[in-house]
Protein backbone atom coordinates (compact mmCIF):
# COMPACT_ATOMS: atom_id res chain seq x y z
CA UNK A 1 0.00 0.00 0.00
CA UNK A 2 1.61 3.27 -1.04
CA UNK A 3 1.68 6.33 1.17
CA UNK A 4 -1.01 8.24 -0.77
CA UNK A 5 -3.54 5.44 -0.36
CA UNK A 6 -2.52 4.91 3.25
CA UNK A 7 -3.18 8.56 4.00
CA UNK A 8 -6.64 8.49 2.37
CA UNK A 9 -7.60 5.20 4.03
CA UNK A 10 -6.41 6.40 7.46
CA UNK A 11 -8.50 9.56 7.08
CA UNK A 12 -11.54 7.45 6.25
CA UNK A 13 -10.85 5.04 9.09
CA UNK A 14 -10.83 7.99 11.48
CA UNK A 15 -14.38 8.92 10.43
CA UNK A 16 -15.86 5.42 10.07
CA UNK A 17 -14.84 3.11 12.91
CA UNK A 18 -14.36 -0.68 12.58
CA UNK A 19 -13.72 -0.83 8.86
CA UNK A 20 -10.91 -2.76 7.22
CA UNK A 21 -9.39 -2.12 3.79
CA UNK A 22 -8.36 -5.47 2.32
CA UNK A 23 -5.45 -5.63 -0.08
CA UNK A 24 -6.49 -7.60 -3.19
CA UNK A 25 -3.77 -6.71 -5.64
CA UNK A 26 -1.45 -3.88 -6.47
CA UNK A 27 -3.61 -0.71 -6.43
CA UNK A 28 -6.76 -2.74 -5.78
CA UNK A 29 -8.60 -2.82 -2.48
CA UNK A 30 -11.91 -3.86 -1.06
CA UNK A 31 -13.91 -2.81 1.96
CA UNK A 32 -17.09 -4.07 3.61
CA UNK A 33 -19.58 -1.59 5.04
CA UNK A 34 -23.01 -2.08 6.67
CA UNK A 35 -25.82 -0.92 4.40
CA UNK A 36 -26.98 1.81 6.82
CA UNK A 37 -23.64 3.59 6.43
CA UNK A 38 -23.17 2.84 2.73
CA UNK A 39 -24.38 6.15 1.26
CA UNK A 40 -22.45 8.40 3.63
CA UNK A 41 -19.40 6.19 3.20
CA UNK A 42 -19.53 6.46 -0.58
CA UNK A 43 -20.07 10.20 -0.35
CA UNK A 44 -16.95 10.50 1.81
CA UNK A 45 -14.95 8.37 -0.61
CA UNK A 46 -15.99 10.60 -3.48
CA UNK A 47 -14.74 13.67 -1.63
CA UNK A 48 -11.47 11.89 -0.78
CA UNK A 49 -10.63 11.27 -4.42
CA UNK A 50 -12.58 8.17 -5.47
CA UNK A 51 -14.63 10.30 -7.82
CA UNK A 52 -15.24 7.76 -10.58
CA UNK A 53 -17.91 5.07 -10.11
CA UNK A 54 -17.13 2.35 -12.68
CA UNK A 55 -19.80 -0.21 -11.87
CA UNK A 56 -22.46 -1.34 -9.45
CA UNK A 57 -23.05 -5.04 -9.45
CA UNK A 58 -24.78 -7.64 -7.34
CA UNK A 59 -23.95 -11.13 -6.10
CA UNK A 60 -26.54 -13.61 -4.88
CA UNK A 61 -25.33 -15.43 -1.75
CA UNK A 62 -28.24 -17.81 -1.59
CA UNK A 63 -26.94 -19.99 1.29
CA UNK A 64 -26.48 -16.92 3.49
CA UNK A 65 -29.83 -15.48 2.30
CA UNK A 66 -28.16 -12.22 1.31
CA UNK A 67 -27.44 -10.08 -1.73
CA UNK A 68 -24.08 -8.40 -1.93
CA UNK A 69 -23.97 -5.07 -3.75
CA UNK A 70 -20.51 -4.12 -4.98
CA UNK A 71 -19.66 -0.52 -5.89
CA UNK A 72 -16.46 -0.33 -7.92
CA UNK A 73 -14.78 3.06 -7.50
CA UNK A 74 -11.70 4.49 -9.14
CA UNK A 75 -9.29 7.19 -8.06
CA UNK A 76 -7.79 9.09 -10.99
CA UNK A 77 -5.03 10.70 -8.90
CA UNK A 78 -3.55 7.48 -7.54
CA UNK A 79 -4.88 4.98 -10.06
CA UNK A 80 -6.51 2.93 -7.32
CA UNK A 81 -9.56 0.72 -7.63
CA UNK A 82 -11.68 0.23 -4.54
CA UNK A 83 -14.55 -2.20 -4.23
CA UNK A 84 -17.10 -1.22 -1.61
CA UNK A 85 -19.26 -4.18 -0.61
CA UNK A 86 -22.49 -4.07 1.30
CA UNK A 87 -24.91 -6.84 2.18
CA UNK A 88 -28.69 -6.72 2.14
CA UNK A 89 -31.33 -9.21 3.29
CA UNK A 90 -32.44 -11.47 0.43
CA UNK A 91 -36.14 -11.55 1.37
CA UNK A 92 -36.47 -7.80 1.71
CA UNK A 93 -33.77 -6.27 -0.49
CA UNK A 94 -34.09 -2.51 -0.11
CA UNK A 95 -31.20 -0.09 -0.39
CA UNK A 96 -30.96 3.68 -0.70
CA UNK A 97 -29.98 4.96 -4.13
CA UNK A 98 -26.62 6.62 -4.84
CA UNK A 99 -28.00 8.68 -7.72
CA UNK A 100 -27.32 11.91 -5.82
CA UNK A 101 -23.61 11.05 -5.69
CA UNK A 102 -23.26 9.60 -9.21
CA UNK A 103 -26.18 10.25 -11.59
CA UNK A 104 -25.04 7.35 -13.81
CA UNK A 105 -25.96 4.98 -11.00
CA UNK A 106 -29.52 5.24 -12.29
CA UNK A 107 -28.98 2.65 -15.01
CA UNK A 108 -26.88 0.26 -12.91
CA UNK A 109 -29.58 0.30 -10.24
CA UNK A 110 -32.25 -0.25 -12.84
CA UNK A 111 -30.29 -3.22 -14.14
CA UNK A 112 -29.83 -4.75 -10.67
CA UNK A 113 -33.49 -4.22 -9.89
CA UNK A 114 -34.41 -6.03 -13.07
CA UNK A 115 -32.04 -8.98 -12.76
CA UNK A 116 -31.98 -9.49 -8.98
CA UNK A 117 -35.07 -7.73 -7.67
CA UNK A 118 -33.18 -5.38 -5.35
CA UNK A 119 -35.15 -2.19 -4.72
CA UNK A 120 -33.36 1.14 -4.65
CA UNK A 121 -35.25 3.72 -2.64
CA UNK A 122 -35.12 7.16 -4.24
CA UNK A 123 -34.50 5.95 -7.78
CA UNK A 124 -37.52 7.30 -9.68
CA UNK A 125 -37.21 4.98 -12.68
CA UNK A 126 -36.96 1.24 -12.02
CA UNK A 127 -38.72 0.06 -15.18
CA UNK A 128 -37.30 -3.04 -16.90
CA UNK A 129 -34.36 -2.08 -19.07
CA UNK A 130 -33.63 -5.26 -21.03
CA UNK A 131 -36.20 -7.98 -20.34
CA UNK A 132 -39.59 -7.88 -22.02
CA UNK A 133 -42.85 -9.37 -20.78
CA UNK A 134 -41.07 -11.01 -17.87
CA UNK A 135 -43.34 -12.75 -15.37
CA UNK A 136 -40.96 -15.08 -13.50
CA UNK A 137 -38.62 -14.24 -10.63
CA UNK A 138 -35.61 -12.14 -11.68
CA UNK A 139 -33.41 -14.34 -13.88
CA UNK A 140 -30.03 -13.77 -12.21
CA UNK A 141 -31.22 -15.07 -8.85
CA UNK A 142 -29.69 -18.45 -8.16
CA UNK A 143 -33.05 -20.14 -7.49
CA UNK A 144 -34.25 -19.27 -11.01
CA UNK A 145 -34.05 -22.38 -13.20
CA UNK A 146 -32.88 -21.08 -16.57
CA UNK A 147 -32.87 -24.49 -18.31
CA UNK A 148 -36.46 -25.16 -17.22
CA UNK A 149 -37.59 -21.74 -18.45
CA UNK A 150 -35.84 -22.31 -21.76
CA UNK A 151 -37.51 -25.69 -22.15
CA UNK A 152 -40.95 -24.22 -21.53
CA UNK A 153 -40.58 -21.19 -23.81
CA UNK A 154 -38.13 -22.14 -26.56
CA UNK A 155 -38.69 -25.68 -27.87
CA UNK A 156 -35.66 -27.87 -28.51
CA UNK A 157 -34.96 -29.72 -31.69
CA UNK A 158 -35.90 -33.40 -31.61
CA UNK A 159 -33.21 -35.63 -33.05
CA UNK A 160 -33.64 -39.12 -34.47
CA UNK A 161 -30.67 -41.08 -33.19
CA UNK A 162 -29.60 -43.22 -36.11
CA UNK A 163 -26.07 -43.92 -34.97
CA UNK A 164 -24.51 -45.94 -32.16
CA UNK A 165 -22.96 -43.96 -29.36
CA UNK A 166 -19.28 -44.56 -28.87
CA UNK A 167 -18.66 -46.88 -25.95
CA UNK A 168 -22.31 -47.80 -25.47
CA UNK A 169 -23.28 -51.38 -24.65
CA UNK A 170 -25.08 -51.93 -27.93
CA UNK A 171 -21.74 -51.46 -29.66
CA UNK A 172 -20.39 -54.70 -28.29
Amino acid sequence: MNSMNKKIFNEIKAIFKNIEFTDIDERKYSVIIPKEKAVSFLETLKRKGFSHMSLITCIDWIAEKEFEIVYTLFNWETGTTLMVKTRVDRDNPILPTVMEIWPTAKYYERDIHEFFGVKFEGNPDLRPLILEKWEEIPPMRKDFDSAKYSKEHFPDRAYDVDFLLEGSESNE
Partner: protein, 179 residues
Amino acid sequence: MTKQQSAWEKVANMLRARSLWMLYYCTGCGAIELPPTMTSRFDMERFGIGPMATPRQADILLITGYLSTKTLRRVVYTYEQMQAPKYIVGFGSCTLNGGIYYDSYATINKLDLYIPVDLYLAGCMPRPEAIVTGFKKLMEKIDKGEADGWKRYQENYEWYKKNQLDALGEVYIHDEFHE
Protein backbone atom coordinates in the same frame (compact mmCIF):
# COMPACT_ATOMS: atom_id res chain seq x y z
CA MET B 1 -39.68 -33.46 -53.91
CA THR B 2 -38.82 -31.19 -56.80
CA LYS B 3 -41.90 -29.65 -58.29
CA GLN B 4 -42.32 -29.31 -62.02
CA GLN B 5 -41.06 -25.89 -63.02
CA SER B 6 -42.27 -23.89 -65.97
CA ALA B 7 -39.72 -22.79 -68.53
CA TRP B 8 -39.82 -19.23 -67.24
CA GLU B 9 -39.29 -20.43 -63.67
CA LYS B 10 -36.28 -22.49 -64.74
CA VAL B 11 -34.69 -19.44 -66.34
CA ALA B 12 -35.63 -17.19 -63.43
CA ASN B 13 -34.22 -19.64 -60.87
CA MET B 14 -31.01 -20.00 -62.82
CA LEU B 15 -30.58 -16.23 -62.82
CA ARG B 16 -31.59 -15.88 -59.17
CA ALA B 17 -29.00 -18.44 -58.12
CA ARG B 18 -26.24 -16.53 -59.88
CA SER B 19 -26.80 -13.07 -58.44
CA LEU B 20 -27.35 -13.08 -54.74
CA TRP B 21 -27.29 -9.97 -52.62
CA MET B 22 -26.87 -10.84 -49.01
CA LEU B 23 -27.92 -9.10 -45.85
CA TYR B 24 -26.28 -10.34 -42.69
CA TYR B 25 -27.71 -10.13 -39.24
CA CYS B 26 -24.49 -10.35 -37.28
CA THR B 27 -25.69 -11.28 -33.84
CA GLY B 28 -22.83 -13.48 -32.73
CA CYS B 29 -19.41 -14.88 -33.49
CA GLY B 30 -20.51 -16.24 -36.91
CA ALA B 31 -19.97 -12.83 -38.46
CA ILE B 32 -16.23 -13.21 -37.86
CA GLU B 33 -16.09 -15.78 -40.66
CA LEU B 34 -17.70 -13.44 -43.19
CA PRO B 35 -14.84 -10.95 -43.85
CA PRO B 36 -12.39 -13.69 -44.98
CA THR B 37 -15.18 -15.24 -47.07
CA MET B 38 -15.88 -11.91 -48.76
CA THR B 39 -12.30 -10.73 -49.26
CA SER B 40 -9.45 -11.84 -51.45
CA ARG B 41 -8.58 -15.27 -50.09
CA PHE B 42 -11.99 -16.90 -50.60
CA ASP B 43 -13.69 -14.08 -52.51
CA MET B 44 -17.34 -15.02 -52.61
CA GLU B 45 -17.99 -12.41 -55.29
CA ARG B 46 -16.76 -14.87 -57.91
CA PHE B 47 -19.95 -16.82 -57.19
CA GLY B 48 -22.04 -13.71 -57.76
CA ILE B 49 -22.66 -13.06 -54.09
CA GLY B 50 -22.23 -9.57 -52.76
CA PRO B 51 -23.14 -7.64 -49.63
CA MET B 52 -26.22 -5.39 -49.56
CA ALA B 53 -27.07 -2.65 -47.13
CA THR B 54 -30.85 -2.75 -46.91
CA PRO B 55 -33.40 -5.54 -46.50
CA ARG B 56 -35.59 -4.36 -49.36
CA GLN B 57 -32.85 -4.98 -51.93
CA ALA B 58 -31.41 -8.19 -50.49
CA ASP B 59 -32.07 -11.79 -51.52
CA ILE B 60 -30.43 -13.82 -48.77
CA LEU B 61 -30.52 -13.15 -45.08
CA LEU B 62 -27.67 -14.59 -43.05
CA ILE B 63 -28.38 -15.25 -39.41
CA THR B 64 -24.91 -15.58 -37.97
CA GLY B 65 -25.08 -16.90 -34.44
CA TYR B 66 -27.36 -17.00 -31.44
CA LEU B 67 -30.61 -15.07 -31.34
CA SER B 68 -32.09 -13.64 -28.21
CA THR B 69 -35.82 -12.97 -28.01
CA LYS B 70 -35.13 -9.29 -28.62
CA THR B 71 -33.03 -9.82 -31.72
CA LEU B 72 -35.45 -12.43 -33.07
CA ARG B 73 -38.08 -9.70 -33.15
CA ARG B 74 -35.80 -7.53 -35.30
CA VAL B 75 -34.98 -10.48 -37.55
CA VAL B 76 -38.68 -11.14 -38.16
CA TYR B 77 -39.11 -7.44 -39.03
CA THR B 78 -36.14 -7.56 -41.38
CA TYR B 79 -37.28 -10.77 -43.04
CA GLU B 80 -40.79 -9.47 -43.64
CA GLN B 81 -39.38 -6.33 -45.27
CA MET B 82 -37.44 -8.33 -47.85
CA GLN B 83 -38.91 -8.88 -51.30
CA ALA B 84 -39.75 -12.39 -52.40
CA PRO B 85 -38.00 -14.58 -53.45
CA LYS B 86 -35.87 -14.50 -50.32
CA TYR B 87 -33.70 -17.11 -48.69
CA ILE B 88 -32.40 -17.59 -45.17
CA VAL B 89 -29.11 -19.19 -44.18
CA GLY B 90 -28.63 -20.16 -40.53
CA PHE B 91 -25.02 -20.12 -39.36
CA GLY B 92 -23.56 -22.33 -36.68
CA SER B 93 -24.99 -24.56 -34.01
CA CYS B 94 -26.72 -21.65 -32.21
CA THR B 95 -29.39 -21.32 -34.90
CA LEU B 96 -29.68 -25.11 -35.15
CA ASN B 97 -30.18 -26.09 -31.51
CA GLY B 98 -29.15 -23.22 -29.28
CA GLY B 99 -25.47 -24.16 -29.19
CA ILE B 100 -23.77 -23.38 -25.92
CA TYR B 101 -26.65 -21.06 -25.00
CA TYR B 102 -29.27 -23.83 -25.15
CA ASP B 103 -30.38 -23.29 -21.52
CA SER B 104 -30.41 -19.49 -21.49
CA TYR B 105 -33.57 -17.65 -20.46
CA ALA B 106 -33.28 -15.29 -23.42
CA THR B 107 -31.96 -17.38 -26.33
CA ILE B 108 -34.18 -19.21 -28.78
CA ASN B 109 -33.11 -22.75 -29.61
CA LYS B 110 -34.58 -23.54 -32.98
CA LEU B 111 -34.65 -20.85 -35.63
CA ASP B 112 -36.87 -22.64 -38.18
CA LEU B 113 -39.81 -22.49 -35.77
CA TYR B 114 -40.01 -18.74 -36.28
CA ILE B 115 -38.79 -18.07 -39.82
CA PRO B 116 -38.26 -20.55 -42.68
CA VAL B 117 -34.60 -21.51 -42.99
CA ASP B 118 -33.46 -22.76 -46.39
CA LEU B 119 -29.99 -23.87 -45.43
CA TYR B 120 -28.16 -24.55 -42.19
CA LEU B 121 -24.40 -24.43 -41.86
CA ALA B 122 -23.51 -26.65 -38.94
CA GLY B 123 -20.49 -26.05 -36.75
CA CYS B 124 -19.28 -23.68 -34.10
CA MET B 125 -18.08 -21.82 -36.06
CA PRO B 126 -18.23 -22.95 -39.72
CA ARG B 127 -14.96 -22.20 -41.52
CA PRO B 128 -14.98 -19.98 -44.65
CA GLU B 129 -14.57 -23.17 -46.74
CA ALA B 130 -17.77 -24.50 -45.16
CA ILE B 131 -19.53 -21.21 -45.88
CA VAL B 132 -18.47 -21.29 -49.54
CA THR B 133 -19.61 -24.92 -49.80
CA GLY B 134 -22.87 -23.94 -48.13
CA PHE B 135 -23.46 -21.11 -50.56
CA LYS B 136 -22.77 -23.39 -53.51
CA LYS B 137 -25.31 -25.82 -52.06
CA LEU B 138 -27.80 -22.96 -51.66
CA MET B 139 -27.25 -21.88 -55.27
CA GLU B 140 -27.88 -25.46 -56.36
CA LYS B 141 -31.10 -25.55 -54.34
CA ILE B 142 -32.32 -22.24 -55.78
CA ASP B 143 -31.46 -23.46 -59.27
CA LYS B 144 -33.57 -26.58 -58.76
CA GLY B 145 -36.39 -24.59 -57.16
CA GLU B 146 -36.00 -26.38 -53.80
CA ALA B 147 -35.24 -23.27 -51.74
CA ASP B 148 -38.87 -22.32 -51.24
CA GLY B 149 -38.80 -20.98 -47.68
CA TRP B 150 -40.52 -17.73 -48.69
CA LYS B 151 -43.41 -19.74 -50.15
CA ARG B 152 -43.67 -21.86 -47.01
CA TYR B 153 -43.75 -18.68 -44.95
CA GLN B 154 -46.68 -17.35 -46.97
CA GLU B 155 -48.56 -20.66 -46.89
CA ASN B 156 -47.98 -21.38 -43.19
CA TYR B 157 -48.06 -17.79 -42.00
CA GLU B 158 -50.44 -18.59 -39.11
CA TRP B 159 -48.20 -21.36 -37.82
CA TYR B 160 -45.09 -19.18 -37.91
CA LYS B 161 -46.92 -16.27 -36.32
CA LYS B 162 -48.23 -18.49 -33.54
CA ASN B 163 -44.70 -19.76 -32.76
CA GLN B 164 -43.39 -16.20 -32.79
CA LEU B 165 -46.09 -15.05 -30.40
CA ASP B 166 -45.54 -18.05 -28.09
CA ALA B 167 -41.89 -17.15 -27.66
CA LEU B 168 -42.01 -13.37 -27.85
CA GLY B 169 -45.41 -12.38 -26.47
CA GLU B 170 -45.86 -9.91 -29.29
CA VAL B 171 -43.83 -9.11 -32.36
CA TYR B 172 -44.25 -5.33 -32.10
CA ILE B 173 -40.97 -3.63 -31.14
CA HIS B 174 -40.97 -1.35 -28.10
CA ASP B 175 -38.03 0.98 -27.77
CA GLU B 176 -38.08 3.39 -24.85
CA PHE B 177 -35.26 5.51 -26.26
CA HIS B 178 -37.13 6.30 -29.46
CA GLU B 179 -40.74 6.40 -28.33
